[in-house]
């Protein structure tokens, strides 16, 4: 009997489906999980210590940024507290040549990539630009229109392949963003092109107020990979070791020509959507408490301490480092920022058009008139 198939149809789903339950390496109590975790392997002690250190620093940055919104120093801040393992675990496996495509939620990931903390906050403070040079850090501007960055990552990754550059693009998105059309187009393009790209979905259970159940009827978000011929992983997003290992597996596969991977990391945002949101309107404090017990930092602290990889002295030094980071951020954010309205016209085009030159001159003339005579 001949099978009915068009050219290109592989008719096999082998190896594409995620595990039934999220894979973890270190459990919520800081113990190694008893079962094997698929392709995941426990990172070396040095990597685990670095994951821990970056999470502690990232958490301090995050709480500092939230505090700055209360003082009116930041217009808005979407916290990633609770998602620390994803923020850090996504970035540390990336090589210098790789690219990160973050969202508004992923400031800690951007800081972890090496962008100075105060530059990351430039936009949220109210500046008109993203605050850093994307080429310097290989970090795209933090993306607010949901899911649109997935396509940029696929394009960049495909261009790398066309030019025989060894580069992988990792794009971060939320559970809500998986419902946007661009996510599907990106997964599809990536699958067809075998683009070296990693999709990391931080499934924190909510898109602002809307719970996952209203977002999808799929058994898991990772399960969607199969529809695009993309292997996928479902992991415990509060286990930094698991996130690191999963991203590592995906980056290695992409770099070796094996194409894209979809990772769903199950996690939770402890804070409201942003400082402007009231989360009590859509979720219970019991639910939040349950997730506080699964804190990504606490579990790695427990694991490292139990093995003598983190003693009180080291923890103390780390706490002091985190305070210095927060001090620096506060200092820079409390300084009055200098804005130059003339620059608004500068980068709309490669060279300002004649019309923009006229508008700039008009604005400057207007400002000069307003200046009190001295």
């Amino acid at each position: 009997m001949t099978t009915l198939a068009h050219p290109g149809e592989t008719l096999s789903a082998d190896g594409l489906l995620p595990s039934a339950a999220p894979l973890a390496l270190i459990d919520a109590d800081g113990r190694l999980t008893p079962e094997a975790a698929g392709e995941l392997t426990l990172p070396a002690p040095g990597v685990l210590r670095e994951l821990h250190r970056r999470m502690v620093l990232g958490r301090r940055f995050d709480t500092q940024a939230t505090a700055l919104t209360r003082q009116g120093r930041l217009a808005v801040y979407p916290s990633s507290r609770g998602q620390d393992a994803c923020q850090v675990g996504a970035v540390l496996p990336l090589r210098d040549s790789d690219w990160l495509f973050p969202t508004y939620r992923d400031s800690v990931a951007v800081v972890t990539r090496g962008v100075p903390a105060e530059d990351v906050l430039a936009l949220l403070r109210g500046d008109w630009h993203c605050g850093y040079d994307p080429y310097r850090y290989r970090v795209a501007p933090q993306c607010t229109p949901l899911a649109t960055n997935t396509l940029h990552a696929v394009g960049l990754a495909h261009a790398a392949r066309l030019q025989a550059k060894d580069q992988v693009a990792l794009v971060m998105l939320g559970d809500g963003a998986t419902s946007e059309g661009d996510t599907h187009e990106a997964l599809n393009f990536a699958g067809v092109w075998k683009a070296p790209v990693v999709f990391l979905v931080q499934n924190n259970g909510y898109a602002i107020s809307v719970p996952l159940a209203k977002q999808t009827a799929a058994p898991t978000l990772a399960a969607k990979g199969i529809g695009y011929g993309i292997p996928s992983l479902l992991i415990d997003g509060n286990d930094a070791a698991a996130v690191y290992s999963a991203v590592r597996v995906a980056v290695d596969r992409a770099s070796a020509g094996g194409g894209p991977t979809l990772i769903e990391a199950v996690t939770y945002r402890i804070e409201a959507h942003t400082n402007a949101d009231d989360a009590t309107r859509y979720r219970s404090s019991d639910e939040v408490s349950t997730w506080l017990e699964r804190d990504p930092i606490a579990r790695l602290t427990a694991y490292l301490s139990a093995r003598g990889l983190l003693d009180d002295a080291a923890a103390g030094r780390l706490a002091a480092e985190a305070e210095r980071l927060a001090d620096g951020v506060r200092e820079r954010m409390n300084a009055e920022s200098t804005v130059d309205p003339a620059e608004l016209f500068e980068h709309v085009y490669a060279h300002p058009t004649a019309a923009l030159e006229r508008q700039r001159a008009a604005l400057l003339a207007e400002l000069q008139e307003q200046e009190p005579a001295s």
Binding site: W128, H129, C130, D133, P134, Y135, A140, P141, P145, T148, T150, L151, H152, A153, V154, G155, L156, A157, H158, A159, A160, L162, Q163, A164, K165, Q167, A169, G181, D182, E185, A186, N188, F189, V192, E343, E346, H347, V348, Y349, A350, T353, A354, A355
Partner: protein, 346 residues
């Protein structure tokens, strides 16, 4: 592994040095071929642009000549095409993508307006996106619904984009080559009703730069402003107007954004009268901007209000009805007649 770098030959101009009859479609094809040959970073992609050569055959033969690393079919998804073009441009390529038809570019609107137009600004000039989006646009070809939109004003209203449209085959070649070389993103509107119109010309990139309007026919009585598919109609109207005693100057805008105030105001100040023509609906259309700008800059030179001849404010009509909708030479002549000429006793 073959790379984009090694796949390209040295610049090999398809353009003949002696004037020869050429269609706009052939001129656009030559512009793409010469752009691909001249610059290794150029890649051409979209729906059916590879093996088929595009539904209008504008990319005919390019995939076989340059290979499918440089000219390729994509899955069917317009946001995907533009979104990935953005990522490719971030990584050093110069994507030239095709939207199959005007109305089928709408799914890409968010990528165009929120990212393509803004990323240079959002990165303080660090991230340039030299992307060209080719859009076959406009009616007059007996197309069924969704195949004849004039969508240019959606894009001209978006700062950060350049919007360009050729009126003649020679200009189609020149403007497309210049658009590919341009560091800004360009929406390149191709008047599909003129794809098969011929001109005897030498295809050359030299000539007026991409952001200048040109006087297609000098005249002293009235300035008739057109672009894209309406340039030929405007020239026909100008020829007919001569019989009525009006010497009409026809300006082909070429660049809708930025707008060439200089060429336009110079003409209108000379003639004192102006009519602007386009296929798109008139309400909040491109002609409103032209009329407003010229009124602001030429008020004391004007003998009459600037008039618009446009499509009606209706969804684009079906094939048998489109002739009632499209601006015709008669409608243009009527508008010229209403420009409060001396001796009128209105």
């Amino acid at each position: 592994m073959t790379t984009v770098m090694s796949a390209s030959a040295s610049a090999e101009e398809t353009a003949a040095a002696v004037p020869a009859p050429v269609t706009m479609a052939a001129a656009l094809n030559a512009a793409l071929a010469d752009s691909l040959a001249a610059d290794d970073r150029v890649v051409v992609f979209g729906e059916d642009v590879g093996t088929l050569g595009g539904v209008f055959r504008i990319t005919d033969g390019l995939a076989s000549r340059f290979g499918e690393r440089r000219v390729f079919d994509t899955p069917l998804a317009e946001a995907g095409i533009v979104g990935t073009a953005i990522g490719m441009a971030m990584n050093g390529l110069v994507p030239v993508v095709e939207m199959q038809f005007d109305a089928f570019a709408y799914p890409a609107f968010e990528q165009v307006t929120s990212h393509l137009a803004k990323l240079r600004n959002r990165t303080r000039g660090r991230l340039a996106l030299p992307v060209v989006i080719r859009v076959p646009f406009g009616g007059g070809i007996g197309g069924v619904e969704h195949h004849s939109d004039s969508s240019e004003a959606y894009y001209t209203h978006t700062p950060g984009l350049r919007v360009v449209t050729p009126g003649t085959p020679a200009d189609a070649y020149r403007l497309l080559r210049q658009a590919v070389a341009c560091p800004d993103p360009v929406l390149f509107f191709e008047p599909k009703r003129r794809y098969w119109s011929r001109e005897t010309a030498v295809l050359s990139v030299d000539g007026p730069p991409v952001d200048r309007a040109v006087v297609r026919r000098p005249g002293k009585d009235v300035t008739l402003i057109a672009y894209g598919g309406m340039v030929a109609t405007a020239l026909e109207a100008a020829a007919a107007a001569l019989e009525e005693g009006w010497d009409v100057e026809v300006i082909d805008l070429r660049s809708l954004s930025p707008f060439d105030d200089q060429t336009l105001t110079a003409s209108v100040r000379r003639t004192g009268r102006a009519v602007v023509v386009h296929e798109a609906a008139g309400f909040a259309g491109y002609g409103a901007e032209v009329a407003a700008r010229l009124t602001e800059q030429c008020f004391h030179y004007l003998e009459a209000p600037i008039l618009r001849v446009t499509g009606f404010d209706i969804p684009y009509p079906p094939p048998h009805l489109e002739k009632f909708h499209l601006p015709s030479t008669d409608r243009i002549l009527d508008a010229i007649a209403r420009l409060q000429w001396e001796g009128d006793n209105a």
